[in-house]
């Protein structure tokens, strides 16, 4: 599952780091580091983190079972070359 955090929006509430500590971590007082490629077994935790972010800064695909989308376009990209 791919994800990206809009760090302009992020205000360091750390809800994500609390709900999905294997994906998100605070680095210092306020800065967030995250793994943009979350493993499949983190699906549920990631979904909770996305929902809990007070500023809705996290975008992830593949959370609602539509996870083949990203992989699909990767395949397409290879085919089109």
């Amino acid at each position: 599952m791919r994800l990206v955090v809009d760090l302009n929006k992020c205000q360091g509430y750390a809800q994500c780091a609390f709900l999905a500590p294997d994906v998100f971590a605070m680095h210092g007082e306020e800065s967030l580091v995250y793994n943009p490629h979350a493993p499949e077994e983190q699906r549920e935790r990631l979904a909770r983190a996305v929902a809990a972010c007070p500023v809705q800064a996290i975008t992830a695909d593949g959370l609602d079972g539509a996870g083949e989308q990203g992989t699909g376009s990767a395949q397409e990209a290879r085919d089109a070359r």
């Binding site: 680095h27 793994n35 943009p36 490629h37 989308q69 376009s73």
Partner: protein, 463 residues
Amino acid sequence: MPADHVDWLRREGRIVIVGASLAGLRAAETLRAEGFAGELTLIGDEPYEPYDRPPLSKSVLLGKASPHRTELPHRREIDAKWRLGVAATGLDLSAKRVKLADGDEVEYDRLLIATGVRARPWLKADEARLDGVCLLRTRDDAADLYQRLKAGPRRVFVIGAGFAGSEVASACREMGVPVTVAERAGAPLVGALGGVIGAVAADLQTENGVDLRPHVTVTSLEGDPVGRVRAVHLSDESVVEVDVVVVSLGSVRNTDWLTGSGLGAGPRGIACDAGCRAFDFRGIVTDDVFVAGDVARSPHALFGYQFLSLEHWGNAVAQAETAAHNMICHGADRRPHLWMPAFWSSMFGVNIKSVGVPPMGDQLMITQGSLAERRFVGVYGYQGRVIAAVSFDNTRWLEFYARQIERGAPFPVEFPTMDRRPEGRQPVAADFPDPSLPTHGPTVTLTGYSPADQQLVFHPARH
């Protein structure tokens, strides 16, 4: 142009996006979200589908993310034809064709240019080719640099203390790798945030064990007999022995491929109107060519209609969305791109964020916290109004200051705050270097007319 041209375009037109990164992807998604049903082609010179770059100098170098897995999530299915791993090499405006490096040509009805920037390489090509001399812009760059840092080099040398260079230095220290940073100006981040904040950044670096060398330039890189870099020679005649050199001298806009196309493109980017429509070299707005992201420069009403060229993640997203919207709607429904500039960085455990355009400011007030604690908000003033703000570990205030900038709030700021320290009562000079002198790594470039861009010979009318 017939009134139904836009309806036709939305139904069965061909839209080509050159540049398959953040801006290109978000534009493609917006086109589909707003009902574009025609043919969509994305062209990218890298063989990878759109990936995110900010993690490359942070999470990736800290070993918390793989450089190969930062692909951007898709917001929706875009049903596009991807031409990846092939660069655009030319543009024929009258035939409406993009030329590709493999000899192919792609026709368009509307074109979006989002080719972004690339890292500025070390100026001496033979030295730049030495093994161990690195850049950090692409995911291949990040993978290479991460491997080299992990191998435990004797010392890393970073040329240029802008945001990228400082983030690399931070990652080195966190990995326990000795690092030297050379900066032409007096402190890190000076070009982006001025000398007062730069001094804080300098303390941050030296206290974390960075060997910081301000006021020097690198004169040459020395290789060993098998072509590996082994030493860096500086303008103060000192020599530093190293295994890795990271060239962090800012970026170059990817406009070379537009040479001779007739578009208003040059080293400072591609000029466009506030609706993202590109200008041609005569300053006339084009109808079918749009621009978004780092490569664009567009006028902004809040900042004196300066043509701003913003290398900001959020700008790439917002400008792509506006450009895509404007590409497929009737004139009266078009929107201007008037995004509040904002960026972030993170180094040595400190979260640095900014809103507005700090380099336009001439004065600075610390309104929250204190410089000594490295937890503060600094507000920049320009001609009696608030023009920008920067925070070190104080991000929640920035939204407030963004609103202040939008409404042209007076400077010096007048409102009392909870924790105003004595240092904040009076504005001080923000201490930006002379803009005519180069500094490394500003993320905002104020791009007025450059004599270097000259493409016309001016003949005054005879009366």
